[in-house]
Symmetry: C2
Subunit: 190 residues, 2 copies
């Protein structure tokens, strides 16, 4: 998606550890018009798959998920990060490992909002090692719903997420794939 790549090149910053900061339009400050275009693009790519729900994780996946749900005309569900130790019986839950933060977190979705009739599109801002998508797909599995695919805004193509998800048969569509970071500069795949 050219508009997105241009924005990443113009405003993205590379921090030590190959962390890509795009918080001027995606993670902290949000450009609603760009996010709307991203929603349209996911709709173009997944619109014929019978998606009944869009699933993401709080907080930075929410803007993209909401715009995608608007375009697809389906409800959006965001998994919540659980702070307390005891998990209620009325939720699906899974554990997500964060490589950058070095922590595990538990995410939950109420059983009221996913069921075995649902066809679910996962949407997230970044794909690195694929742990967030794996955690959400575990929740989808618990609910009996079908996973249609994963729509990713920015994929770090030099990490293992895409391969890992593909090997599990998950259809992944990334709008911008970063092939490498060379001397602090972002290089896209094609």
């Amino acid at each position: 998606m050219e508009l997105l790549k241009e924005k990443i090149l113009k405003e993205g910053r590379v921090l030590p550890g190959n962390i890509i900061k795009v918080d001027s339009f995606l993670n902290h400050q949000i450009d609603p018009l760009l996010i709307k275009e991203i929603g349209k693009e996911f709709c173009r790519r997944f619109g014929d798959r019978g998606v009944s729900k869009v699933l993401t994780i709080e907080a930075s996946g929410i803007p993209v998920a909401v715009m995608t749900g608007l375009e697809l005309n389906v409800p959006v569900v965001f998994a919540k990060k659980q702070k307390v130790a005891n998990i209620s019986e009325n939720v699906f839950s899974s554990t997500i490992k964060s490589y950058t933060k070095g922590t595990d977190s538990t995410v939950i979705v109420s059983k009221d909002y996913l069921n075995d009739m649902d066809r679910v599109l996962i949407v997230d801002d970044f794909l690195a090692e694929g742990q967030a998508v794996l955690g959400l797909s575990e929740i989808i599995k618990q609910s009996g719903a079908s996973l249609v695919g994963a729509g990713i805004v920015i994929e770090k193509g030099f990490q293992n997420g895409y391969k890992r998800l593909r090997s599990l048969g998950i259809h992944v569509e990334s709008l911008a794939v970063i092939k490498s970071i060379e001397q602090g500069k972002i290089v896209f795949d094609i």
Copy 2:
């Protein structure tokens, strides 16, 4: 806003402690079309005030803020809940007391995304005691920006938030005001 009130009456649930659960369309599962209409309504109410930025808090304020930013055609910033104790120098920060959870939390906004030229509209899903809006208005004050007002989806009119904010001169617009909860039933103001 009639569409919103109907939705609250149809799907809202009252939990012990007068907690109003609207997680089928606002807090956990999200109805994108309704949220878009809410964005339009805030645009109608604040569109002539020269708003340059919409500010909210992660996570449940984000959908409404993004749709409002889209309608107003301005960037959205969401304040982040800070987990770590040490606050970076490059952020504005304030502490928000939660009466329901009985906890204090620190929220931050990068200094890159608010400045003294900004005219800021705060948007949030609920208004109860007004602590979230107060915390955000403190951040706006630190940045030197002007606070245009606060757009609230659901106001608990039987709590003190509205009075508290009005007494500080903050212009508050709530799309649904709950006057009371009588025997577990929600009663709106007018």
